[in-house]
């Protein structure tokens, strides 16, 4: 019996797998981060999370801890050097957890460390065994598997003897490894260094860098895995989001152009347009650009597409960057498209936002999150050009490439509307994104003999023999219709 017990004591040994390409990982439970790191943080090792003030490092660390305690049955210890206990509690409350409850349930232990230099005199040799003992005591109290040290660098302000402090920190990180706990150590970003005190020298297993930039009064958060010993990881900068649901990272897919190319076709919702698209409509999972000057009917065409998709029972997501959902619904009702029943049925969801509210990356991240939550098969962004006002040319291209890439990876058919500034000009914004588009439909208004006439043509549509005609259309109270061939005004725009 005893022998049995002994061997069971080392569960870790039983689970130990032969040296494979990847080390064991501990999930953070943070959406996106576990994907970038291919499973989470290195189990039983310290990870350094660095960033400037307000970059979200404490929130990331706390999320790791709380998720461990609540989702992964891994109790945790928070050793915090932050003075404000109430702030910690409210950060955790913002994640939807009650810190006192977690402490009571022995899932989390917190030790608030305060070092007041003014009341400390230093003389002669010392070590930080007191800190080790406190940490050890807290780890034992809850049987912790996760430890967060936030922000241990504060010790440099509290203690005089740098040499002792550095050698003790080195010992501390080694000790943490010996305890087998998965640790997150937060640190302040330094000048020319990852951390102000060069902690990256001691914690060499994994380093995550958080960045918070404000450009043109628009803030953007980014995360980068600088280092991850013994593991593959994404090396890009990933936008991340801090909102009501906590922290989430947007993993940018490979951009390797390995999307499936479904042969299935989906109706545009306008029979005569389907006809122009070799009789069958768009390809599923493709990306469609609808461009035109103001009032040419872009939104109407998109509404037809949404309506048709909902009729097929597909889930549709519509991002509005110009109108409110109510305005949109009313306007579409005026041309005989009633989208409200689809909303009521849960098939259609609108997300309206002001483009200027956040930076591109934040928009991208939040759209990504909405897509992940709603799992649509059709997505409309109306108009995508409004997003272009919040970033530079290169940023916009990068952001849209990533968004479209993600939608394609998920085989989501996407329609983007684009507002052109002038009648015949193909705007630079459009050329920015046109190469990413599978199908490009141009809408135009013409004055002919005192009449205002609407026209439409397919500029391109990959993988199908599409019509090159400019077709006239009208917006009626029962939708967009193209008058019979007699009313056509074929015209070569190019």
């Amino acid at each position: 019996m005893n022998r049995m017990k002994k061997s069971q004591g080392h569960v870790g040994l039983l689970e130990h797998t032969p040296r494979g390409p990847e080390l064991p990982k501990t999930p953070t439970g943070i959406r996106g981060l576990d994907e970038i790191t291919r499973g989470g943080l290195p189990t039983g090792r310290p990870t350094l999370v660095c960033g400037g003030p307000g970059s979200g490092k404490t929130l990331l660390a706390l999320t790791f801890l709380v998720n461990g305690a609540s989702q992964f049955d891994e109790p945790g210890v928070l050793l915090t050097f932050e003075e404000n206990a109430a702030e910690i509690a409210s950060d955790i409350a913002s994640l939807g957890f009650d810190l006192p409850e977690l402490i009571k349930a022995k899932k989390i232990a917190v030790d608030y460390v305060r070092v007041e230099r003014s009341e400390i005199e230093e003389t002669g040799e010392y070590d930080l065994e007191g800190l080790f003992i406190r940490l050890d005591y807290a780890i034992r109290a809850v049987g912790a598997k996760r430890v967060v040290l936030d922000t241990i660098e504060s010790l440099f302000a509290g203690l005089e003897n740098d040499t002792i402090l550095r050698s003790e920190l080195r010992r501390l990180f080694r000790w943490l490894k010996d305890q087998g706990v998965t640790a997150v150590i937060t640190a302040e970003r330094g000048e020319g260094l990852l951390t102000r005190q060069g902690l990256e020298e001691y914690v060499s297993d994994a380093v995550i860098l958080l960045d918070h930039r404000v450009h043109d009064q628009v803030s953007t958060r980014r995360l980068r895995v600088v280092k991850y010993r013994g593991s593959h990881h994404g090396t890009n900068e990933y936008p991340f989001l801090i909102n009501a649901d906590g922290i989430s990272v947007l993993p940018v897919s490979s951009l390797a152009l390995q999307h499936a190319a479904p042969l299935e076709r989906v109706s545009s919702g306008v029979a005569s347009l389907d006809e122009m698209l070799s009789g069958k409509g768009y390809y599923r999972g493709s990306t469609i650009l609808v461009s035109g000057t103001a009032g040419t009917g872009k939104t109407s065409l998109a509404a037809h597409f949404l309506d048709a998709a909902c009729r097929r029972g597909e889930r549709c997501l519509c991002f509005l960057f110009e109108e409110s959902p109510q305005q949109h619904l009313r306007n579409m009702r005026s041309i005989g498209i009633d989208l409200e029943p689809w909303m009521a049925a849960g098939l259609l969801q609108f997300h309206a936002d002001r483009p200027s509210r956040y930076g591109l990356e934040t928009h991208l991240a939040s759209m990504h999150q909405v897509v992940a939550d709603f799992k649509p098969t059709v997505t409309v962004i109306d108009p995508v050009t409004n997003l272009m006002t919040v970033g530079t040319y290169a940023d916009v291209q990068a952001m849209l490439t990533r968004m479209i890439d993600h939608l394609k990876t998920e085989s989501i058919t996407a329609m983007l509307t684009s507002l052109s500034p002038a009648q015949t000009d193909i705007d630079r914004n459009e050329s920015t994104i046109s190469s990413l588009m599978d199908t490009w439909i141009v809408l135009a208004n013409e004055e002919l003999g005192g009449h205002h006439r609407r026209g439409l043509y397919v500029l391109k549509s990959r993988g199908m023999a599409h019509s090159n005609e400019l077709r006239e259309f009208v917006l009626t109270d029962h939708g967009l219709t193209m008058p019979a061939a007699a009313g056509r005004s074929p015209r070569d725009i190019a």
Partner: protein, 105 residues
């Protein structure tokens, strides 16, 4: 500290009782040295009016948080107030005296 008619009278340190705590982590050369140094300084400067309590954190780890102990050895001057801390093996007598407010900085 008392208010007298002549204004604020700071009682001279010579009148006050010193309540000291020495935090150590086991019987290490550093902790032994610190205790010896502390004892000697107290005998010299605070004879008859001091009290040293030794707390071994290896035995009582739960006591570390209360006085915010990180470094060992640490001497905590509990009385007279305010609380003062001296960390290290107390090998520099001058600094210990400054730390205990027995000498001007």
């Amino acid at each position: 500290m008392q208010l007298s008619e002549g204004g604020i009278a700071m009682p001279s340190p010579a009148d006050q009782a010193y309540q000291l705590r020495l935090y150590v982590a086991g019987q290490t050369p550093k902790s032994v040295l610190a205790f010896r140094n502390l004892k000697q300084i107290c005998e010299e400067h605070l004879q008859g009016r001091y009290e040293i309590e030794i707390i071994d954190l290896v035995e009582n780890p739960q006591l570390a948080a209360g006085d915010q102990i990180l470094a060992v050895p640490t001497v905590v001057r509990r009385l007279p107030e305010p609380i003062k801390k001296i960390i290290g093996d107390l090998s520099n007598t001058e600094r210990v005296l400054v730390g205990l407010d027995l000498r001007e900085r």
